[in-house]
Symmetry: D3
Subunit: 237 residues, 6 copies
Amino acid sequence: MPDDVDLKKLAMVSSPTATHLLLKLGIRNTFLEGIKPLTSGAAVVGRARTLRFLPMREDIAPDPEHPSSNAQRLAIESIAPGEILVVDAGGYLGAGTLGDILCERMKYRGALAVVVDGAVRDSAQIREVGLPVWSKGVHGAASSRSLWPDEYDIPIRCGGCTVMPGDYIIADEDGVVVVPPVHAAHIAEDGSESERREEFIRMKIRDEGYSTTRAYPPNDEVLAEYESWKKGEATRG
Amino acid sequence: MPDDVDLKKLAMVSSPTATHLLLKLGIRNTFLEGIKPLTSGAAVVGRARTLRFLPMREDIAPDPEHPSSNAQRLAIESIAPGEILVVDAGGYLGAGTLGDILCERMKYRGALAVVVDGAVRDSAQIREVGLPVWSKGVHGAASSRSLWPDEYDIPIRCGGCTVMPGDYIIADEDGVVVVPPVHAAHIAEDGSESERREEFIRMKIRDEGYSTTRAYPPNDEVLAEYESWKKGEATRG
Amino acid sequence: MPDDVDLKKLAMVSSPTATHLLLKLGIRNTFLEGIKPLTSGAAVVGRARTLRFLPMREDIAPDPEHPSSNAQRLAIESIAPGEILVVDAGGYLGAGTLGDILCERMKYRGALAVVVDGAVRDSAQIREVGLPVWSKGVHGAASSRSLWPDEYDIPIRCGGCTVMPGDYIIADEDGVVVVPPVHAAHIAEDGSESERREEFIRMKIRDEGYSTTRAYPPNDEVLAEYESWKKGEATRG
Amino acid sequence: MPDDVDLKKLAMVSSPTATHLLLKLGIRNTFLEGIKPLTSGAAVVGRARTLRFLPMREDIAPDPEHPSSNAQRLAIESIAPGEILVVDAGGYLGAGTLGDILCERMKYRGALAVVVDGAVRDSAQIREVGLPVWSKGVHGAASSRSLWPDEYDIPIRCGGCTVMPGDYIIADEDGVVVVPPVHAAHIAEDGSESERREEFIRMKIRDEGYSTTRAYPPNDEVLAEYESWKKGEATRG
Amino acid sequence: MPDDVDLKKLAMVSSPTATHLLLKLGIRNTFLEGIKPLTSGAAVVGRARTLRFLPMREDIAPDPEHPSSNAQRLAIESIAPGEILVVDAGGYLGAGTLGDILCERMKYRGALAVVVDGAVRDSAQIREVGLPVWSKGVHGAASSRSLWPDEYDIPIRCGGCTVMPGDYIIADEDGVVVVPPVHAAHIAEDGSESERREEFIRMKIRDEGYSTTRAYPPNDEVLAEYESWKKGEATRG
Amino acid sequence: MPDDVDLKKLAMVSSPTATHLLLKLGIRNTFLEGIKPLTSGAAVVGRARTLRFLPMREDIAPDPEHPSSNAQRLAIESIAPGEILVVDAGGYLGAGTLGDILCERMKYRGALAVVVDGAVRDSAQIREVGLPVWSKGVHGAASSRSLWPDEYDIPIRCGGCTVMPGDYIIADEDGVVVVPPVHAAHIAEDGSESERREEFIRMKIRDEGYSTTRAYPPNDEVLAEYESWKKGEATRG
């Protein structure tokens, strides 16, 4: 079924539009609270890979000096093109969960972005790498100061939402929304149409002074104008 | 009395200067805490229109699918040139109170800015619209997820301050300050003079190495220098 | 001993690298939490001067109208080239501890930056002054609304860390780290070397697709490549 | 319609049961978050009277030295038997909204309780008065330090919920729930029945070791046992 | 190895003493922050069973009306004598994770306590049941409002610490500490001895005015007194 | 001047009354926010001794295994009858600043109470000791986990207020208020009179149904009744 999702259309859907349409479908809790873009201007759509950190427990944590087989590394070394790493660090802001080198590696492997319910480190260097990051903050300490990677490819909590491996992730200027695969095709269709209609409405408000009473939501007359504008666009476009 | 306020002079007053002068007048609580500009560089002065959201109550909230007569829409469709919409959403960050389309409409009607004790949505699109926004955050969900518009043109709580309809609002890089109309003419006069004096002091510190002991507050000698500099400026300007 | 610190090398060390190396030395608590750059792009290294504000007590606070001998002014008027003023305002966000004029003065005297566990005011003007500031927020009110300067050149609490007068401060995009003088030479040496090695590792990951298993930390083979690359750089450079 | 509400039955319904049944009716947001009983053991049911404080604005607040006609006093001097004063102080914890004397007066007039989204003062003396209070905290300062009473008998925000004048309030050990009048009769009926069924289930679990698989929710067999137990109780009772 | 743990001795160890001894062993993070006893006076020692809730996702959550095979029920219906259910609800306070009926069942099965990083409901009724509860708060809503039970018998995050199935839990007036099994025998031995020594020290301070310089930690003389007091106790006891 | 303070009268003044009278004198910030009694029912008046903890810095902190000359011990071993130890731990809740043994010692030396802007440990045992404690929380870890004692007998920040050595402290059910010595005699006089008048007002409201309009503040008639009641009390008492 995910094969049926038109990723180009999904990429036209903003995080607020997706949130709104999912709410109409009865999925209330999809916008990750408190998680912001590290740099402005990025917008990506991809599939979630998940990773969970737990608070440091020196008696059980894997040795941070030999990280090769810990859950974080396994997640990063298996990430595939089009994927987004979504990290549950419990909202902890006292250590960065990852830095520029791991971002460089994920970018090389084709990852599209990183989303962290917690902090990252090396923010200036991450910007150089160019892998977009959404997080709750920045902290200079390495994760091993107070976190250990527990598991990957499991359901996680992130920004007050559940993220499952394979969920679609829309991340943009406003923030990050998780789209359940079962609804992704619908969001791509209705969402891209909705964005277009809103673009038309904004144009009418901006250029012709339509009131929101008339245009938002559009009344029948405005809807008809929209439909004929769309046809015109299709002809021109 | 508001007619006597010199808006050009008031527009020269920064939010910190206004806050400071109001405190001297015994008005302690005028700087809206925790409310930040959505984009940097904006600075506006206008009159407050107010709107209050309350937490969603499904048994009483107006139908969000037919918003034409709810308080939010009535506020927006009646906003006038020079006005700033100030929104009390109780600091709630789990839904955006408004997005790009409503901003487009307010801009068309001549509104100068929006100030929200809560979140907005469509932040990237709002930047395109070009209506400056100050808020506590961004959230993708529409307000109807968890808020309903209760009333407009009433006293509200915003950023820990009371804002009355008709209050003057100074919003800039530092944040937002509310200026009671009864003190606005005074703030315009004293504030613009104060900004000019501080500009002179900064110049003397920067270019001639004056100590703050001598120049901040200025001693009599420095004050005299300032007065003659002002005369020179007036001659040249 | 501080004379032995190579400031050029220390300036090559990012705040996360310094934090990490200090943690390895057993100094766990050196990255100031929640304190962010006011503008992006700044990076400084200097020695700490300290200042503490306490909550306003009208019966004991020095007269804010005659500030010449209060602790804040004494700190500012005695600051020397290469120093960074680190301010403990208890994390209080309801008043700015200092504004553009005091920043102008500190810049004139050669100060490199200001770090505040609390808020500043006049943020737009401070950017004009060009003295980099790290703080927890911005507030328009003058400090005398709710704070008074208690002492300077004493141990303080800042961002959940202890800062001593004379500590080295590394402040960059990620945030601020305090380096105990006894460890500064070591951090300069090991840190600058560490930065260079990480640059090499990132290059290998980016250009040649090295896995992190192989390169981070580097295995013997990669380490050998690094050593010969370094020699090549030295020859070329 | 409120006349049809069986208050005795409503008083048998705990706040969690009412919250749960309202959620089933689609009213999601009825349990006031963060508002706790000042003393343990109290449980009341009554109708809401409402009052809103706003942050102090010295240019508009009524004179606290002559309080006779401010909104707080008008609310208190008009409160009637069976009513509960619900106060919106914006969650502000830096001043007490009321103390023992106003509680004494409300108790005399027949009020059942006070619920405050903010703080109270004189907590020890309020316990002597014997009027139950639910609040977010205690603070020694009088409200006039930083609040002024804006209006009463209006819709308010309290603990993240909307409270309307005339709403039913159930307040107990767990906290406070607001019951819309339109649903109160239903909550009284279904809630009291639900409490009884849960009492029976707890008894079966405690005395006969029923598993929750069998008894919670009860399967048909357990439901039949409950029905016959109820009949027995009715016969005996 | 856990068989070697003397539970009677472990039960003599207070949560602060256990925290302190574990810190000396290099296990820094064992005291669950922000989790308080629902009623005062309880003190238990047992083995952890774990359960994790995630934020509600309507497309994947098990049907709350047919809970028989969800993770919460499986955990509760398999809990064994001497065990303590430790629940990770992500610190969420907007819904109760469990109430009196589930507590009644756990008590019947021999569970000793419940520890929740989140809220519970039916607090008054839970007190009647008599199963001790430690939590961050109380909320009237059922968990299905915003949580779903993800898994049980897995590593969890609770109060900023990692809790593993089988960990020893010491819960008392101060709060809850997690004791790794590998250190439990040591904590039982050293901890019970430490409690006894502290009791002796307190007695000497209270009855004979020993200074802390002399007695805390005890110098050689006081240690000798302690040893002979212990012998006397053994003889008498 | 402190010699002139009537401690018996000061002990009759509740913390809210003292806060209110100090505010009238222009001292706005005297009630320690967020600091609660560990056990209910205690009420003390005494002189402040102060102590400040700073965040752990392993390179400078005194050795916690040899505490005899650190600032905490020096404060405790020099505390005198009638004094209250007021501790600035920066509001940090991740470690207890002191426990039962140090409380036992302070009690022996005549201390009246401990007030902590942070946490304590051994709360159950502290209750046995019987020294009243006000704090922000409880944590099992010893202070040396993350704090070190910096100085004593210096101005400190506590609950958002400045506390000076020698300040009068009133601590009761509502919380803790700091009374500047220069105002203590006035607070003792006016405060005790104010408490008596409020007792009379509450009696009139409770027993005779006086309205607050008439009695709070009392009009001339009620004031006259109060004066004659006072005389009667004096005669009887």
